[in-house]
């Protein structure tokens, strides 16, 4: 073997190692190494509604946040609990319809309908998905894929819940600022809340369920229970997103079960970087505006997402966020082998 073979070596930056422990408080440089990325994200997202020109793009920001909530839920389920949900539309639809019914039939204000739709919707989703939780493998993906399709078909065929016309005349939010900042703050709360959650004890159990369920069982823990808790958390986020969406559009209809809600969060997660929770938000920030620009292409957009998705999953499965984290924390150099 010649000595010209080289390989890349990755080493943690000194500052990363220093900031891992208490030493982070030693200097402004190290403090900012830790806080600047987070602050940039938080302030950036909070500033988005202000800097966006015009009503249209402000609307887009809200939609980005709706998708971001779904995508965070998908990432959490897929990479921390090991459940692949192909039915984001199921959560959106359940939450959306509940909020719409509560608002139009019982006259509750959005302040009440959204929390009720979140909790009740999450409970219903969890209950409906319960049968496939004790099982490993592809069952969860299959069942979540089926629910939105079948529910849309049932509503259409039986003409319940407004049938194909949907439920009209749902109240809107007090002002567009309330609407935007509600969505934005909810995304931030979920984002940082979940990042905490996955590092607590229950988060550890979730990851154990994904990696080695037999070990969890051997420790005397009920896997189905923990999976149900995880599904409840993720579907609560989806239902909240759905309830907000209904109040934004002032309308609930079959399009709440549309495929967009299932495929965009998945694509955003894969592009943004699975398993980081932040990645999906970044993915949504990239994908959803593009999707708005491409609105005139109709269903070709779904083709476009699907192809991006396949491309990323096959060739660049790490995603933007993981790549960015690596560049931030490590440097590379060539070493001779």
């Amino acid at each position: 073997m010649s000595s010209t073979h080289r390989r890349k070596e990755r080493i943690d930056r000194g500052i990363k190692v220093r900031t891992d422990g208490l030493y982070a408080l030693m200097s402004w440089r190290e403090l900012s190494y830790l806080t600047v990325p987070r602050l940039v994200l938080i302030l950036g997202i909070l500033a988005l509604p202000i800097v966006m020109p015009g009503m249209y793009w402000q609307k887009v920001i809200t939609i980005v946040c709706i998708y971001a909530m779904l995508a965070i839920g998908f990432d959490f389920l897929a990479h921390y609990v090991g459940l692949v949900s192909l039915g984001g539309a199921f959560f959106i639809g359940t939450g959306g319809y509940i909020a719409a019914i509560l608002n139009s039939s019982y006259g509750l204000p959005p302040l009440l309908t959204i929390p009720i739709a979140t909790i009740l919707g999450a409970a219903i989703c969890t209950l409906l998905l319960l049968p496939c939780l004790p099982l490993r493998g592809v069952y969860f993906a299959i069942v979540t894929l089926m629910y939105p399709l079948v529910l849309a078909r049932i509503i259409e065929a039986l003409d319940v819940l407004g049938g194909t016309d949907g439920i009209m005349g749902v109240d809107s939010f007090a002002s567009s600022w309330v609407e935007q900042y509600l969505a934005v703050t909810m995304v931030l709360i979920f984002l940082f809340g979940l990042r905490r959650l996955v590092n607590t004890d229950i988060g550890l159990v979730f990851r154990a369920v994904k990696d080695n369920d037999q070990a969890v069982r051997a420790s005397g823990m009920n896997i189905s229970y923990y999976k149900a808790v995880a599904v409840f958390i993720a579907s609560a986020m989806g239902c909240l997103a759905g309830a907000c969406l209904v109040h934004i559009y002032m309308w609930a209809g079959i399009s709440l079960f549309a495929l967009d809600f299932s495929i965009i969060p998945i694509a955003a997660t894969v592009i943004g970087g699975g398993g980081t929770i932040v990645g999906p938000v970044l993915g949504c920030l990239i994908l959803v505006p593009i999707s708005e620009l491409l609105r005139e292409f109709g269903t070709l957009r779904i083709v476009f997402y699907s192809l991006i998705l396949v491309g990323f999953i096959v060739f660049r499965s790490e995603g933007i966020m993981v790549f960015g984290e690596r560049k931030y924390h490590q440097f590379q150099r060539w070493v001779r082998v």
């Binding site: 089926m146 083709v303 192809l307």
Partner: protein, 288 residues
Amino acid sequence: MDIIIYGIINSVALAIMALGFALVYGISRVPNFAHGSIYVLAGFITWSFLRTLGFPYFWSVIITMLIVGVIGALLYRFILIRVRGMAISEIIASYAVGLAILEGLRWGGFRGMSYTLPVFAEGSVIIGGVPVDFQRIIMVFAGVGIFIGLYIFTHYTRIGLALRGMAQDERAALMLGIDSDLMAVVSMILGAMLAGLAGILLLPLGNIVVEAGYNVLILAIAVCIVGGLGSWAGAVLAAFLIGFAQILTVVYLGSHYQMVVALLAIILTLILKPSGLFGMQKQLEERV
């Protein structure tokens, strides 16, 4: 009487739809979520050859089967092979490909009522007082033919035996010199061709619509889960169970409930016997 006859016809149709999915999953453990889109795609390719290019029916069917087989092979060789064994990626990748095909077709203008394939033979006969058209009879016989053909193929040819070896124990099969990737490609080709054949056999009974892709995927998966994922005998039996259940609901409740039957069948199976009717040996593996 019409319940029995249409029940049998519906069951055979379901079995034909599900066979391709069951085959691919049974052999390479890849859940092929692009199954339904290949079914619809086959219909549209045949339509294009028949109507736009003016080929005779027989040849357009043959060409379609070849194209669909190649698509299946490419799908495995270039996409699924890279994510094999990673359950999340397998599902997402095959689902995304399926979506791309279906929504691409929809965007390409293939929608509406104008896309129909002609039936193979006009006319109908009366069996036991019920009129049945020739297309359905041909479909039933073709279905039985496919089952017998597959049985002979998997039990008496070298490739078929290799496929079954893969299905039973991939590592042992590798040790005996069976190329597992090649066999997986073969299984994808077979699965895609079965999906295409199902499309060609069943689509003349109605319009070719993109939505059929999702329905077929759901029905195929329902049949496979009820029968036990990967078990072919189970799939056939489950097709009959679901097929008759569907016809009964259509007769007594109304045709809206057909999809609900499929969903209920899946849910009930998952609650009562998660490994399906004939999934005995896999019970330990799949139940957590």
